[in-house]
């Protein structure tokens, strides 16, 4: 099973709040790969809105994104693009 791990910095002003969390979950749910988000000790399922909200990643923090599965590469690319675009906010 291909697995890709990447540290990505959250750059939008309010961090991953409600709307970005929703967009993150909508995007990761499109892939068959498991998407896992880690920040410090916390580890959550990237397809769970409750999980992603609870991570409460603020601006400037770095999250570890893990994509595991057949489409891990595309998943990581698109997730990275979403975070880098600041979820289309600011």
């Amino acid at each position: 099973m291909p697995e890709i791990v990447k540290d990505i910095k959250i750059e939008n002003k309010l961090g991953i709040h409600a709307r970005p969390a929703a967009r993150f979950v909508q995007l990761s749910s499109r892939f068959s790969s498991d998407i896992i988000l880690k920040r410090g000790e916390e580890e959550v399922n990237g397809k769970s809105i409750m999980g992603v909200l609870m991570l409460a990643a603020p601006q400037g923090s770095t999250v570890k994104v893990i994509a595991r599965g057949v489409d891990a590469e595309t998943a990581m690319e698109e997730i990275e693009a979403l975070i880098k675009s600041k979820f289309g906010e600011d």
Binding site: K9, A18, A22, V25, Q26, L53, M54
Partner: protein, 594 residues
């Protein structure tokens, strides 16, 4: 009964009088009871049915809201829907039912309680507020599980003011302005979804009142003043008279704005300026038209490049530019070329992260290096110019040599298109944004090369005062009325006019109530602002006389502090358009904007 005043947070403007309706969402009473092994499957199915029913409810609410308040607010329900679809949550409940052999209501409620506990520990206030979204969904699921009917604000019989400990976004979404004339809650904040929704539905509201729901009974007369953030219980006759006066004044003011819509922006003594709109995409056009915008003074084109992994081609851009130009014809449309970088990126371009992105590889600097991308855009702009109402504007010009390079590429692209026999406007006006102090210093030389200047105040202020306004510690230093900023703007306008070119402004300052009289007096020819504030800007311009604006401008050019400038501007506006000054002071600024 004696009048009693409660103070909270002004969440949605407007002032209303009405009878209270106490709305208290009772939590469904849930107790554990065991499930026989053979019924575990059925219990899980019951839980799933409740999720499906809740999902349907939420989709209906979202649809109704979209019809009444527009697409933007419906995003607020995306998180709601995702909660009902949350795999981790669902898996936990299913597992709980299987292992504990307890009823779905009880297991679901305990899982939600665990989440609530965890959420309360999150430091971030914004995330904490999302807890109300989760509770909102959870309540709906529980009601669907127990089959109990919930109280509902959609089916009110008479006009009321709703009073509640808290209101969920979905409760708020179901309010109708004809029945709910206003609302007030114990809890809430300015950025809560409930407050955002109230503003979209134009229902006056005050939140964070502490204990209003305990003090009010259904039927009590009260006033909700969503502009000042007050609720007045048992209003006296004098208070009611004052409210009446304010309502009349507000209504008159709104009528005046409406009447101005189809008139040009003109001072009382007949001096005309152009009042145009800033837009991002063709979808913004209806708003430009409905607010009476005179064309577009800034068409930002970054939108094409954001949130995607590839690059937009010429055709895609051409279609969008053409649509905007055609819709607004004969009014003019100023298209600004790509202003990527700083805080706006496209993932296909692999712009490397920088320590100081606002001073880095962005906008025209990027375009000069990636001429393939630049020329694609220029071609699209040229092709869209057939009706002769398109103008082009280059961002981030810092000096003469750079401008000459840009203009050379512009001429090359024109020649290419000409050779291909594609029709376009041969004498299209070309302008530059003045947003770097060095461009102000060199304005004399730059003015000889272009047809207009447009002052980009957001960057000009940040570069001039060396203030990153996103940094909260120093944001107070970011001030459009800083005397250095006013003097720079004066310099740009004077230089432009000396070379017979017009000077506009497309930064936020052009829509700032206190700055407008000064800008008008300095001779600014064009104001380009966000479509929604066009009526207010027009109202202000039309209540001023040119000589008094000029006098104000001359006066503040000699001032040494922003406070003095602010006081002088306030004095003029309080004499000419006091209502606008009041609106300015109580303006609700959405979180996370710009």
């Amino acid at each position: 009964m004696k009048e009693k005043v409660f103070s909270g947070i002004a969440a949605s403007p407007g002032i209303v009088v009405g009878q209270a309706y106490l709305f208290d969402v009772e939590e469904a009473a849930v107790s554990p009871h065991p499930i026989p092994e053979k019924s575990v499957g059925a219990e899980i199915a019951r839980f799933e049915d409740a999720l499906i029913a809740t999902r349907k409810e939420l989709i209906n609410i979202r649809q109704e809201l979209a019809d009444r308040a527009g697409r933007k607010v419906t995003d607020l329900f995306d998180a709601h829907l995702l909660v009902v679809e949350d795999r981790t949550l669902i898996a936990e409940v299913v597992k709980g039912i299987e292992e504990k052999r307890l009823n779905a209501e009880y297991v679901f409620q305990s899982v939600i309680k665990e989440y609530t506990k965890a959420f309360l520990q999150v430091e971030d206030g914004y995330i904490k507020e999302r807890l109300s979204d989760i509770r909102d969904v959870a309540r709906r699921v529980l009601h669907n599980l127990t089959g109990s009917k919930r109280a509902d604000l959609a089916s009110l019989e008479e006009e009321v003011v709703v009073i509640a400990p808290d209101l969920s976004p979905s409760d708020t979404a179901l309010m109708h302005r004809e029945k709910v004339v206003g609302f007030a809650t114990d809890a809430g904040g300015k950025t809560s979804h409930t407050a955002i929704m109230a503003r979209s539905l134009e229902i006056p509201a005050v939140v964070a009142l502490g204990n209003i729901s305990a003090a009010v009974s259904t039927g009590d007369p009260l006033v909700v003043d969503g502009t000042s953030g007050q609720v007045i219980l048992f209003p006296s006759r004098a208070t009611l008279a004052r409210v009446k006066r304010e309502q009349t004044e507000l209504l008159r003011f709104e009528t005046q704005l409406e009447e101005l819509k189809d008139r040009p922006a003109e001072t009382r003594d007949g001096f005309r300026v152009t009042l145009a709109a800033n837009i991002e995409m063709p979808e913004d056009l209806p708003s430009v038209v409905s607010h009476g915008g005179e064309g577009v003074g800034l068409y930002r084109t970054e939108y094409f490049y954001l949130n995607r992994v590839d690059l937009p081609d010429e055709e895609e851009q051409y279609q969008a530019y053409r649509k905007v130009a055609k819709t607004l014809h004969p009014a003019s449309v100023i298209i600004r070329t790509l202003d990527l970088g700083g805080d706006k990126f496209n993932s296909a371009l692999e712009i490397p992260p920088e320590f100081n992105p606002f001073m880095g590889w962005r906008a025209i600097r990027f375009c000069l290096e990636r001429q393939d991308i630049f020329k694609t855009q220029l071609r699209a702009i040229l092709r869209a110019s057939r009706e002769k109402n398109v103008k082009v504007m280059f961002p981030m010009i810092s000096g003469y040599g750079e401008l000459k390079r840009v203009l050379r590429i512009w001429e090359e692209t024109k020649n290419e298109i000409r050779r291909q026999g594609v029709p376009f406007h041969q004498d299209m006006e070309v302008g530059i944004m003045i947003e770097i102090p060095s461009a102000v210093v060199m304005a004399d030389e730059l003015a000889r090369e272009v047809d207009f200047f447009s002052i980009g105040t957001n960057d000009l202020i940040q570069y001039t005062l060396a203030v990153d306004r996103v940094n909260e510690k120093i944001a107070y230093l970011y001030d459009p009325l800083n005397p250095a900023v006013i003097r720079l703007i004066d310099q740009v306008i004077t230089t432009g006019h000396r070379h017979n070119i017009w000077v506009g402004m497309c930064g936020e300052m052009a829509g700032d109530i206190l700055s407008i009289p000064i800008l008008l007096g300095l001779g600014l020819d064009e104001f380009s602002v966000s479509p929604v504030i066009i009526p207010e800007v027009k109202k202000l311009i039309s209540s001023l006389r040119l000589p008094e604006a000029r006098e104000l401008a001359q006066e503040v050019l000699s001032y040494r502090s922003a406070d003095d400038i602010r006081a002088a501007a306030k004095k003029v506006i309080s004499r000419t358009a006091p209502r606008l000054l009041k609106a300015e002071q109580s303006r609700v600024r959405p979180a996370g904007s710009g």
